[in-house]
Symmetry: C2
Subunit: 557 residues, 2 copies
Amino acid sequence: MAKTDIQIAREAKKKPIQEVGQKLGIPSEHLLPFGHDKAKVSADFIQSVQDRPDGNLILVTAINPTPAGEGKTTTTVGLGDGLNAIGKKAAICIREASLGPNFGMKGGAAGGGYAQIVPMEDMNLHFTGDFHAITTAHNLLSAMIDNHIYWGNELGIDQRRIAWRRVIDMNDRALRQITSSLGGVSNGFPAEAGFDITVASEVMAILCLANDLKDLEKRLGDMIVAYRRDRSPVYCRDIKADGAMTVLLKDAMQPNLVQTLENNPAFVHGGPFANIAHGCNTVMATKTALKLADYVVTEAGFGADLGAEKFFDIKCRKAGIAPKAVVLVATVRAMKMNGGVKKDNLGQENVDAVKKGCENLGRHIENLAKFGVPCVVGINHFVTDTDAEVQAVKDYCSSKGVEAVLNKHWADGSKGITEMAQKVVDLVEGGKANYKPLYPDEMGLFEKIETIAKEIYRADKVVADKKIKDQLKAWEDDGYGKLPICIAKTQYSFTTDPNWRGAPTGFEIPVREVRLSAGAGFVVAICGEIMTMPGLPKKPASEVIRLNDQGEIEGLF
Amino acid sequence: MAKTDIQIAREAKKKPIQEVGQKLGIPSEHLLPFGHDKAKVSADFIQSVQDRPDGNLILVTAINPTPAGEGKTTTTVGLGDGLNAIGKKAAICIREASLGPNFGMKGGAAGGGYAQIVPMEDMNLHFTGDFHAITTAHNLLSAMIDNHIYWGNELGIDQRRIAWRRVIDMNDRALRQITSSLGGVSNGFPAEAGFDITVASEVMAILCLANDLKDLEKRLGDMIVAYRRDRSPVYCRDIKADGAMTVLLKDAMQPNLVQTLENNPAFVHGGPFANIAHGCNTVMATKTALKLADYVVTEAGFGADLGAEKFFDIKCRKAGIAPKAVVLVATVRAMKMNGGVKKDNLGQENVDAVKKGCENLGRHIENLAKFGVPCVVGINHFVTDTDAEVQAVKDYCSSKGVEAVLNKHWADGSKGITEMAQKVVDLVEGGKANYKPLYPDEMGLFEKIETIAKEIYRADKVVADKKIKDQLKAWEDDGYGKLPICIAKTQYSFTTDPNWRGAPTGFEIPVREVRLSAGAGFVVAICGEIMTMPGLPKKPASEVIRLNDQGEIEGLF
């Protein structure tokens, strides 16, 4: 029987993190260790390498996800190992896992099979404490807002218009909507309030987009936390919380270094939601990796329609970085699902369904071309895939003018992905990349939404109430018109209907709500229902998670 | 001008934590580093030293605290350094600081002057994440309770009788009393709820009293989280949260090692409230230190009437440890305040007031004798103290049959406290210690409260409603009768009136409420108002906390 991810991870021959850091030239004194297998890279060291040239950034993205699994993170990790295997100095950048959801469903591994990042247990629990720091900084601001009102409300906050909820890194539906400050005078003024999960915090988005501590503090100060009766905004800066929040986030801003099963360096840092936020690891980690490695492989959340678009239009635009190549991950199984095959029948060869399902892949290929970066398709191999099915995908890609490579990193580690690694190097060295965002800063906010919906999703039109359009106009008048758009939408379809697979046409994108993340620096357009505080399932994983007699964690994976 | 604590701390010549660990014979591979100046001692190493004999435990306690300051922690740290200075292998054990309150009032240093533990900044912020782990474990249980009810409530929990609140490490009065699960069917059943500060969590008390991970898991399972309509208890074990909580607390159970300014080892681990809990650092840290050092200096929260009593009757009784000597800390200034001098006049010599104030000291001396452990009084020197005043305290102590030593560790570090260190060694080597708890396990719960109130506080009687007495009786019937008592009362007086200094007589102790901490293993008797969720002041410290241009933290100290 094949080994499970956790079995493989536990058999990993981890090197001391100092040795992993040495591969990138990080001196031991600049690696702040957390145990023997995790470390933060010191801010001082990062400062000292700013004059170096950047390495080559590679984005790994995917088709619309299906329950069949695409293996985007697995490909990211495998490609990092593969690039190292063919003699390149490569590093990986991915997001941190959110702790709360691991106690609902089984915890997420960082990769899978023989393409994993370790230590898996720590990464699914407290890791280096970054998310706890974010939770604390966020809730300090909440406490300070209510405290300001309690002591006289000099700023004239309209308590009905507090725009700042609380956060907790836990799936706890009971906290979605609460009334706070009950119990009398000494507890403040009763108010409606609520909690989101920590990854939904604007502080998380800011930590992931900030260039340094000064930038972090400025962005925190820019956050809008409430409005007055005259609708004028009250900023975090007005509450005087930005300094203390920065102090709380000082260590969290330093990127975390861990390793792959093959002892190659991996930065795992930050984890914003991919719906109401941009869904990428920190700019700090990506930029640091680019200074230290020749190749940096990173990924973006969800499918390419949401994840890659936000990566290009928010992260790259704001951070001044640009990938040299994109790897678009697909699987034969997911093609079959997109082609109409039910989950139970995925094990049977069905070349026609694969061909039909390639429509979804094809649209992502077309979309990625709009950002000016060359693309290669990575077929993440499953044992049930037949040669004819794989060839059908390759042929389809060929007809679209891109190459497709079959990757077996899951089963074989770096040995299974050297062809792809070489292809990526060829693409980079071909020098064809010419990154451009989808829309200019100067375009109006609603037009930006329309541009994404029409160019990427292929919707006929965007539908929004006058109230929403007025709000966008008001933000433009207030000087927020140059911000990029962050679409919050189902990841499973180009449309807002999660069950509409393939390459749909003839649909509209309704915008239900818009939110201004003034500190993070984007306008969120919510299209459909977005849950910012999950609940636990009937049988949560936490009921079976425990330490066994060997002191190992059971039930988390 | 004298240097501030933070200036002194920043000038510390810290050694790598591995070198500090070497002093105690901890191999590097068993020190799990957090940065270069903090580490956790591995559970495996702790297991490996269990057969070693124990060193000598020294308790540092104090008179009833006054705004003049006693310097209990400063003396603890100074004595640890002093014992090392006279050639003993000594370690220190103190509690961790709670993060939340540091953003209200100025953060607490660990010691002061030249008797400090470093790194001070980290210890006042996230440190090694123990409190975040406790917060998370606690709130996972909260989420699982509500989730159980949401999915059908098989256990038949009476939602009006949920005994498990939530916690957050933040001063946030708005969360003291809330209604949760508002907003419709998918958010659960609306209910009254609320948050305490993390240090008030029973999980914190359990972490501090547990002997190992197995014991931790058992105690967590024993916690009562709710009652059914028939008043029968529902345990954490019934909710099946104990295993996952243990996993979340696995790393937090390992003691944290840091160092004094003189590079001597200090364990800083755990931080339960000293009112509704027992107020001492973890049993894990104390027991580990006793295996590794010849002398272990520790302290207990509040004055000796609350702190030392709980240390003896809860921690020592349950952990099977016993101090060989007690240092009772007093100051000339605090004696003057107890003798009736106003705070503004403390700088003027007043020998009569000192003599009068010694009554408070005297009662603590008498009380400590009841636990069978020899005592020495440590006079913590202030520059305004006159020789005549110091002599008055010494003479008074002499009349009570104990010695008093003037300590100048604040100004001079270990050099200022060598006489005391030698005195402690003499006391230990004298072999007079014969620890006994104040009351036997078998005594009834109400009688135990009476015993503490009469023997320690010198109250005439304990006053409690029939309802409270019935509750205590019911717990005895349920098998909880052998638990010790944890009194929650003002720390400023032997009475329940914080302004009644000195050595009062002729008063009653009213018991307002009793609570069962079935997992921690004690019954809390609440005498007076106890706040388990602080609020922020009008001008919270967080408004001025920030990073300066040198990257140093301002405003936290």
